[in-house]
């Protein structure tokens, strides 16, 4: 699936997007975040406060316990500050 990063999550990881094949045990947004956090220093920094990082599945806001099965595009980003 395609993973997107925005704002300081993107800056810490050092990329805007990547294709990820998550292992079978990774079933929810929170589990995906934990899986990504283990991929390296930038990732660990981005997800060090997991409750702060928000997610969207296929362009809709998703809670940490939302299942990721069937998702085409999952995004991680800080709390929004538009408007």
């Amino acid at each position: 699936m395609k993973i997107l990063y925005f704002a300081w999550v993107r800056e810490r990881i050092g990329r805007e997007a990547e294709e990820i094949e998550a292992p079978g045990g990774v079933r929810t947004v929170a589990e995906l975040a934990a899986f990504l956090a283990a991929r390296g220093d930038g990732y660990a920094e981005a997800f060090k406060e997991p409750k702060v990082v928000r997610a969207a599945i296929d362009r809709r806001h998703a809670r940490p316990d939302a299942p990721i099965a069937g998702a085409r595009e999952i995004a991680f980003f800080p709390p929004m500050t538009g408007g």
Binding site: A7, W8, R60, H61, M80, T81, G82, G83
Partner: protein, 166 residues
């Protein structure tokens, strides 16, 4: 309600628009697009949010804001907020325009326009759209000051403002 509108009425020819763009917008043209040529509009409310100068931080005065957004989701999420507003208030039209890119103090950031038969509905729908847009639309502000760049932190006051509509 005296004119027979009830929350949830969707005038068949209502005008609802969401745009995400780097260019500036023309508030007068957007008001005209909602109300011109129709006499069922009793109230139009606009909200313009601007990049505001700020020299109170120790890192120096604000030089610019850069608005990053999630293309695709930004339009869709604001579209969902507009649908929610239509379900709650008898709106004849609504327009939301949000800019992205680098903006200097004095420049427009966001425009919300609501048109309704009634002033209360127009005011409430505009305030609702702004409050929910702040906490739900996927935009992030990078603040450029004289000596540093910082991502703006989300405000608890904005969460509280969004909560009052639940």
């Amino acid at each position: 309600m005296p004119d027979g509108h009830s929350p949830g009425d969707h005038p068949a020819d209502g005008r609802f628009t969401v745009r995400i763009q780097s260019e500036d917008f023309d508030t007068a043209a957007e008001i005209a697009a909602l109300s011109a040529g129709r006499a069922d509009v009793g109230a139009v409310v606009t909200f313009s949010g601007l990049c505001r100068a700020d020299d109170t931080a120790s890192e120096g005065r604000l030089v610019a804001l850069t608005l990053e957004h999630y293309p695709g989701m930004a339009e869709e999420e604001i579209g969902r907020l507009v649908e929610e507003a239509r379900a709650r208030w008898p709106l004849i039209g609504a327009t939301v325009i949000h800019r992205h890119g680098r903006l200097v103090p004095g420049e427009n950031i966001v425009l919300v326009v609501t048109a309704s038969p009634h002033r209360g509905a127009a005011f409430e729908a505009a305030a609702f759209l702004m409050d929910w847009l702040k906490t739900n639309a996927p935009f992030w502000k990078l603040e450029e000051r004289e000596t540093v760049k910082n991502w703006v932190a989300a405000k608890e006051a904005d969460d509280a403002a969004a909560e009052r509509w639940r």
